[in-house]
Amino acid sequence: MRFNLFQPFARFLQPYRAQVGLGLFLLFVTLAISLMIPKLMQWGIEAIEMALKGAATAAYKTGSLEGDLAFYAGLIAGMSLLNWLLSIGMRYYLTIVSRKVERDIRSAYVNHLLRLPLSYFHQRRVGDLMARATNDVEAIQRFLHHAFRMSLTGALTFVLTLVLMCFIDWQLAVLSLLPMPAMVLTTRWVGEKVRSGYRQVQEQFAEMVAHIQENLSGMRVVKAYALEKAEMEDFAKLNEDYVERNRRLVKIRALFYPFTFLLNGASMLVILWLGGLRVIDGAMSLGAFVAFNAYLIRMGRPMMLLGRIVDEYQRAVASMGRIQSVIDVQPQALGGAERMALRGEVEFRSASFSYDGRSALKDISIRVPAGSTLAIVGRVGSGKTTLARFIPRLIEAVDGQLLIDGVPIGQIPLGDLREAIGYVPQETFLFSDTLRENVLLGSDQSTEIGVEEAVEIAQLAADLRSFPLGLETVVGERGVTLSGGQKQRTALARAVIRKPKILILDDALAAVDTHTEEEILKRLRGIMAERTTIIIAHRISTVKDADQIVVLDEGRVVELGTHEQLQARDGIYADMCRRQNLSSELEAL
């Protein structure tokens, strides 16, 4: 165990030094006051002892036993009242700090997480990332909240009571330290076990959560294939395993409190015995004996709490580790600092990329002059989407270069780059928000074209009229369900509204019927006349007007040219045209 419990969280505690300082100061004062109480008790009892022995009135502070008792009792009550008031401040400050740190850690985590490269999210499950923002952060808060009060109070109480006990009887005081070594050793041993046990429990919990998440996301498939029973069985296994891991943890943890209690009790017993003998021998007053015992109980409490603190500490450190591991991941490089206005020229220079050890793109070299159109065709898995994803740096070239306006893409400020790009992905993600917000998404209200115009271009306006709330209709998880085509057109409006210098349509109109697609393309041509367009499609009608058409196969450029050039070449593209013609010729019969 580290000496400084707070070290792993130091960075987040830093801003609250003043509050922590004030809280700790109050804590120290309240502690000092509360430690006076056994002493007052001792004096009160000693006064009674004196009375029993028939002492003279002069021996009493106030002149009589009743007076003395009332005085000590009143003092206890008064100090307690003061203590209460100070404790309110102490607890308030320290708890608030733990809550603020919780907020800060969560915020730092989320702010960092959202900036990580996309590839990071492909390796992680959403449920797992969520657990870090919720459960893990809460574990840290719980520890800090308790640790401030308990560990610091504990340590201080321990030292102060020991000093006060030494004043009463130093030999007994030293004896009371007897269980310490055993306590420290068990704490260490149990701490180790609990930490690893807890980690296993947490991992299993994450598994379970991820399973539920996946099950819910895939509910349609679950229902369509009547997988309910199989899913329940899978879940039952995870659930059972979770209980088993908890059982292993409980086995160790359940030992801890009773054991510390036993050790503590045994040492108290020795003191009680020896102390009792001293009182019999007249070497110690009964009052001192009672006070000594009261201190001993107070000293025992932090020792007992040690277990809980260790437990929570282990959890908090494990949780902080999980959060830190995300914060330590390099965010995506932001590119150059100097703002750039892009024209939209895109050039791949022998760019290669591999995924999971498989080569996805090999040695791609294409130049797309600003304002021109590049169409990408090719069969399933040939790397079309991968190629398009280079441009907004959703992935980064492993070898070779990608230049925008002649500048290596890594040197362009990421924000400027993405602002200049309108990307419509194959699969549309809509947020649980109004259609308006979904279209605006991050762009200012004051963009060149309004939401209305954007939905008009995307041919969404007619659909909107059929919704009673129009643009204010809430969609996504919490709202109405849109058809695939409506979703794609919403995504298109989202891209168009930004009037991007580079528009990328990644098979973005697949769920839109041909007629609507034609309408959309016609309107797009109007606004995209001076903008670079990169379009992935399967329909020849969509791609044939492009300035350049590139045919990908197994991650390589196999053909590149205009519609006419490629037809003349009589390769894959020409073959594609023939096949698509075939069906229409059949039609003409």
Binding site: S107, A224, G476, Q580, E587
Partner: protein, 593 residues
């Protein structure tokens, strides 16, 4: 969006229902209570033994007797250790078992809910039921119930010891109880409301984070990170605010209980001291009292804290029960056949996803066994809805749907769905390998069958190229596959289940021409032997169909074979004309939507 807030406190009915989860472990619970009883009697025996030690031995100067009582004390400690361990173990495990049952129940209830439910309930909210709400119950079961009883027992045991020693001191102690109770009551009222607000805010920001993470690609592409983070921070801040509120109350309350304890201590010293002098009580009684008083307030404080846990659990259990009690999807009247003939009939079907917002209006058609039907129409015309209804994903409001002449409501839902192979618009892949995604829960399916299915749709071409082939892990939602690849897997998946009815929903939309031809080939083969309903885009599919349904604004406007429809010169003809002109002039793919 905050869920409705109301203060309910502890509802006895809810509590009884919650405790019902402990019923299977009643034996263990009873055993735990015995342990609790023994351990609190043993634990609180300490000061009493101190009293005996002081009065009977120390003050009498009996050294031997002191040794003897110390021995008894030691015995008591050992009992406490053993009982304490056993109690801690049983309490935790009973809690774990109960929680396992709660989780299993929630999970299986969710499996039985209708799709309509999932349409309007965000996954984030359901996840909160499964995580934070279950967690709250967890604390109740593993810590709350038993500890609360143990605390109450502790109070009673202490009172019993005190009354046994001296009735007047007992009465004095009892006198402080109402004050402590009143303050505790005040606190719980104040904090509970604050807690509920905090909880709702927590749920709300975690749901929004969940969404940002699910849509991270869009978030990053559109430079939405900063705003998403800001939105999150606002939620996070407002959560903090709610927490600060309740912190204030707690900060006043908990030290107050210490004040109450110290005040009682002063009272005992003042009053008891006089008694000792008068010989009314023994020395040891005073000493024991001074030890009991601080112990007395700790359990009261803990009960207050646990009452919070209980309330938190109440609020959570309310939400969990609401989920668990949601009307499950109807399972049908149990009619089942191992194979379907494949006759489907829609008879005057009206359907709306909500209210009277008809998506289908008076739809009637028949599909004979083995026939293939193509549905065409513009997006939003209601094509997908028909497919949803064939699988009984939704119940219709008016009319009847018959499968093999039997009302769909009489069919055992699962038996029906097992015989229908569906390829949906959005392909969902489960984590695990490719094989699992094709076999989908069918444990009897052999590798050869899986490979056969993949081969039929030509999906094997790319699967074989994967590093681990069929053992390749797809990752969450199949992120490493292209849309086309995912569709091929989804195809193989549908074929692998060798369905009697095949349902294809715009499934070929994002596959390139070559792949599409392969699929087309496979589909044609398949259609020969079974009933199929296809939401078609490709003219070839449509031409080969035995029947074409032309959907327009939720109605079937035209029905018939390709040439018949063309001859009608209606909507289909117009749609076709659009395609034809394109196709004729510049060789466009002939597609119809």
């Amino acid at each position: 969006m905050e869920e409705a807030l109301e203060t309910k406190g502890v509802d006895p009915k809810l509590l009884v229902r919650l405790l019902g989860y402990l019923r299977p472990y009643a034996g263990w619970v009873a055993f735990t209570f015995v342990l609790v009883l023994v351990s609190s009697a043993a634990r609180q025996g300490g000061p009493f033994l101190t009293k005996i030690a002081i009065d009977d031995y120390v003050l009498m100067g009996d050294r031997e007797g002191l040794g003897w009582i110390i021995g008894v004390f030691l015995g008591l400690l050992v009992v406490q250790f053993v009982v304490g361990y056993a109690q801690s173990w049983t309490t935790s495990m009973v809690g774990q078992w109960a929680m396992r049952d709660v989780r299993a129940q929630i999970f299986s209830c969710m499996q039985k809910l209708p799709l309509r439910f999932f349409d309007r309930t965000p996954i984030g909210r359901l996840m909160a039921r499964n995580t934070s709400d279950v967690d709250a119950l967890n604390e109740l079961f593993t810590d709350g119930v038993v500890s609360m009883c143990s605390d109450m027992l502790t109070i009673l045991t202490i009172l019993a010891y005190i009354f046994y020693m001296d009735v007047e001191l007992g009465a004095l102690t009892c006198a402080v109880l109402p004050l402590a109770a009143a303050v505790t009551f005040w606190l719980q009222k104040k904090t509970f409301q604050a807690y509920r607000i905090a909880r709702t805010r927590f749920d709300s920001f975690s749901a929004s984070l969940q969404e940002s993470l699910s849509g991270i690609e869009v978030v990053q592409l559109f430079g939405f990170e900063r705003r998403a983070a800001e939105r999150f921070d606002r939620g996070n801040d407002s959560y903090l605010e709610a927490r600060v509120q309740s912190t204030l109350y707690h900060s006043i309350y908990f030290p107050f209980m210490e004040l109450a304890g110290s005040s009682l201590l002063a009272l005992v010293l003042w009053y008891g001291g006089g008694q000792v002098l008068g010989g009314d009580i023994q020395w040891g009684v005073l000493v024991a009292m001074l030890q009991y008083v601080p112990r007395f307030f700790m359990p009261i404080r803990d009960i207050a804290e646990r009452y919070n846990t209980l309330q938190i659990a109440m609020a959570s259990s309310e939400r969990i029960f609401e989920l668990v009690d949601s009307a499950p999807e109807p399972v049908g009247d149990g009619y089942a056949q191992s194979h379907l003939q494949g006759a489907i009939e829609f008879d005057g079907v009206f359907f709306a996803y909500s209210g009277e917002d008809w998506v289908l209006r008076d739809v009637s058609f028949r599909v004979e066994p083995g026939q293939s039907v193509a549905i065409v129409g513009a997006t939003g015309a209601g094509k997908s809805t028909i497919i949803n209804l064939v699988c009984r994903f939704y119940d219709i409001q008016r009319g009847t749907i018959r499968v093999d002449g039997v009302d769909i409501r009489q069919w055992d839902v699962q038996a029906l769905r097992r015989r229908v192979g569906i390829v949906q618009q959005d392909v969902f892949l489960f984590s695990g390998d490719v094989e699992r995604n094709i076999a989908l829960g069918d444990g009897d399916m052999t590798r050869a069958q899986v490979e056969q299915a993949a081969h039929s749709v030509n999906a094997d071409r790319f699967i074989n190229k994967l590093p681990d082939g069929y053992g390749h892990q797809v990752g969450e939602r199949g992120a490493s596959f292209s849309a086309g690849q995912r569709q091929l897997i989804s195809f193989a998946r549908a074929l692998a289940s060798s369905p009697d009815i095949l349902v294809l929903d715009e499934a070929t939309a994002s596959v390139d021409t070559e792949t599409e031809m392969w699929i087309q080939e496979a589909v044609e083969k398949l259609m020969q032997s079974r009933t199929s309903i296809v939401i078609a885009h490709r003219l070839s599919t449509i031409r080969n169909a035995d029947k074409i349904l032309v959907m327009h604004h939720g109605e079937i406007r035209e029905e018939g074979r390709h040439d018949e429809l063309l001859a009608q010169r209606g909507i289909y003809h117009r749609l076709h004309q659009l395609q034809y002109e394109d196709g004729g002039v510049d060789g466009t793919s002939a597609q119809l939507a």
